[in-house]
Subunit: 93 residues, 4 copies
Amino acid sequence: MAGYHGSTDQYLTRLRRIEGQVRGVQRMISEDTYCIDVLTQISAIQSALDSVALCLLEDHINHCVVDAAKRSDEEGREKVQEATHAIARLVKS
Amino acid sequence: MAGYHGSTDQYLTRLRRIEGQVRGVQRMISEDTYCIDVLTQISAIQSALDSVALCLLEDHINHCVVDAAKRSDEEGREKVQEATHAIARLVKS
Amino acid sequence: MAGYHGSTDQYLTRLRRIEGQVRGVQRMISEDTYCIDVLTQISAIQSALDSVALCLLEDHINHCVVDAAKRSDEEGREKVQEATHAIARLVKS
Amino acid sequence: MAGYHGSTDQYLTRLRRIEGQVRGVQRMISEDTYCIDVLTQISAIQSALDSVALCLLEDHINHCVVDAAKRSDEEGREKVQEATHAIARLVKS
């Protein structure tokens, strides 16, 4: 069971809002909206995605990583390494 | 006329793909997919948004900023400052 | 005892190298080096800092967070929240 | 002549401060300071580097890019592409 299992509805609500924001950018482009305003909206979407990702990460560490560490140090280290690689991708994206 | 005016269709194609990726993350969440796989997909969406934003920025500088600078130094500096603020938001998001 | 305690020397070596890179950028500026080359060097420093931070984070989760979670769920959640805030600052910086 | 030529002293002052901050992190590591406090300081250095880079970028576009565009459209596009690649490295680092 995924670490975020208890908050599925909240995540889906946030992601549908982000989907709507992406469609909003499409409308801006179709209407030849000034570039800077389009860029501002893309940054807003990036921030919204960042915060969804950070919540998922917190849920993941609280559940999947901590549970694995309680089972064995080795399992724990593997999960921590996997989570750190995911964090690296977030930092770089 | 926006700096990206000549490439509207390409931008819309890329943004529709991103919209589909966001829906894909919704499906992953609904199907209780492992957290790290969801995070990987969110990072992929952020990279796709980054590259759309960078192309928009290049179009904007090539057209709106350069045209303003050719009209007057002052107009040019204002447009460059505005673009730099947009870049700062991208760097921070 | 800090989570990175066993790797202090490696961290100090990496940080001294970064210190040297910052001095290198000062030299480039003093020598009126082309802007793009200076920017490239700053990005290299940021990537080096990112990787130091990610290693510190991995050590921190492996030790401080996991140890706290083993003591009590509540302590664990507090440490995970604290770590997530640190990750958020990394993602935004 | 580099686009930042008129502000060399200000840039050197900011970079020396950043150099001092990196040495500060070394001290924190030597004193076994709590990981989160070290991470917070690294994020502060990243933000300081971001703002130096953004100022350099603004100077570069105002001078090198605009001057090239005034000489010829082709030279202008080359400089804009080069600047966009530098921005991409900043966004990814």
